[in-house]
């Protein structure tokens, strides 16, 4: 099974410049775990100290924000895309 995780530019310095990472995770949580295991420096940018997905990071499964699906337990199927999109706030 192949899932693609799309990495935003701001995170690519932690993925050796890779814009896309393949994963075999069965859920969004699995895919993120696989990603951060491969690139440990990314961990603290994905999850906060309590282990929650960071407030300013939006995670999409294909077209939908995972908070409108089953959150991190949303199941993945072959060909799915997981997008990490930082929310652009403040200034």
């Amino acid at each position: 099974m192949a899932i693609t995780i799309e990495i935003p530019t701001a995170f690519r310095r932690f993925t050796d410049g890779e814009p896309r990472i393949q994963s075999a995770g069965a859920t969004v949580a699995d895919a993120l775990a696989e990603l951060t295991a491969k690139y440990p420096a990314l961990s603290r940018h994905v999850r906060d100290e309590q282990g929650q997905i960071r407030q300013f990071l939006n995670v999409y499964l294909n077209e939908e924000d995972i908070r409108f699906l089953d959150g991190e337990s949303s199941p993945l199927k072959d060909g799915d895309r997981v997008l990490l999109v930082p929310s652009i706030a403040g200034g």
Partner: protein
């Protein structure tokens, strides 16, 4: 707004090309009496130049930065007002413009962008989808998207709305401000503006309560305040107040914190209450606000009735957009009347008919 240039992130010797901001602070005479409050004001950015919304301010500072960074193409993700402002100022300053909007936007807002000649990309989806796409576009293209990669400069422009409120109150801060919330940025920038003026010694420091206003059909921040949530829960917008229809507000966490720390509150009203409030504001104060203005005015009235805003206090309600842009929301309430012959008898007959209707009603 350029009188505050020293407090804005502008290049040195920046010469502004358009007179933006400086909108009226209107003291309420009639609505305040009806609500039983003494000092109620409307900061009326519905008459901002050039495109009749507060977004003219943020685009002004963002485009100064865009020029400095050498962008040729500018754009934005928008619920309408921002697209109008980007298209107009972009055209005047010679940028190529490309704005991204949700596919179901009010026709008047699309037309008010199209007329300036730039590109408009309509997206199948709501603002949150548009915004996500723009984040990816900003990542890939060398374009200056005012509320994405120019956001720090854009956001600073909002402070001028706050500076002007303080100046127009005679260099005093109000007790309360009621601010519409979409992405949740403006409320924080008004607070920042007030803090800066106090820091400079131009106003006496004061604890201003910040109140947020949303439509019930898209109220993630108000919901977070009312349910005392640590984080807001995103929503799928469904409201006629499309300029506030942002279900996943990027600055929502900051707005939540500011409202809580200031001792303020947030409320929301339904679509029918929005329409009633638009009419009430027009009938009492002669101000025709867009749907977002109906939200703010209606929420202000609700907060006064709840006792959260005191009757003796000074309260400023922020009107951020013009009713001429959202006429479709209220058109059904004003069907065209039948035309009469241009004769005095015809007019007198009509008048007595209407008098009879009024008596029977």
């Amino acid at each position: 707004m350029w009188r505050y240039s020293e407090l804005l992130p502008l290049p040195q010797e920046y010469s502004a090309s358009q007179p933006i901001g400086g909108t009226p602070l209107v003291r309420s005479r009639n609505l305040s009496e009806r609500l039983g409050v003494k000092n109620l004001y409307f900061k009326n950015d519905a008459v901002n130049y050039p495109t009749l919304s507060f977004k003219d301010r943020v685009v002004a500072t963002a485009l100064a930065a865009a020029r400095r960074f050498g962008f040729k193409t500018i754009g934005c993700s928008s619920t309408g007002n921002l697209a109008n402002a980007v298209a107009a100022q972009g055209a005047q300053q010679g940028f190529d413009t490309c704005v991204f909007i949700p596919g179901d936007l009010e026709p008047a807002k699309v037309l008010n962008t199209a007329v300036y000649g730039g590109r408009i990309i309509r997206i199948n989806g709501n603002y949150d989808h548009v915004n996500r796409l723009c984040t990816q576009i900003a990542d890939k293209f060398h374009w200056g998207l005012v509320n994405v990669n120019l956001r720090p400069y854009y956001a600073e422009g909002s402070k001028t709305h706050g500076y002007e409120i303080a100046e127009q109150l005679g260099w005093e801060l109000p007790d309360n401000v009621v601010v519409p919330m979409a992405g949740g940025s403006l409320i924080g920038k008004i607070a920042k503006g007030f803090c800066e003026l106090a820091h400079l010694g131009w106003v006496e420091p004061k604890r201003v309560k910040f109140f947020g206003a949303q439509a019930t059909g898209c109220s993630p921040i108000a919901d977070g305040i009312k349910r005392e949530l640590p984080r807001f829960v995103p929503q799928k917008p469904n409201t006629i107040a499309r300029s506030l229809a942002i279900g996943n507000p990027a600055d929502g966490p900051f707005a939540l914190r500011l409202i809580r720390e200031s001792g303020g509150w947030a409320e929301d009203i339904s679509d029918s209450e929005i329409i009633d409030s638009i009419k009430l504001l027009a009938e009492t104060e002669g101000i025709f606000a867009e749907t977002a203005g109906g939200v703010t005015a209606g929420v202000a009235a609700k907060l006064i009735q709840q006792g959260r805003i005191g009757k003796e206090e000074t309260t400023v309600v922020c009107i951020t957009g013009n009713g001429l842009k959202t006429t479709d929301a209220i058109a059904a309430d004003f069907p065209a009347s039948e035309a009469i012959q241009p004769r005095l008898e015809a007019f007198e007959a009509l008048l007595s008919e209407q008098l009879k209707d009024a008596v029977n009603a």
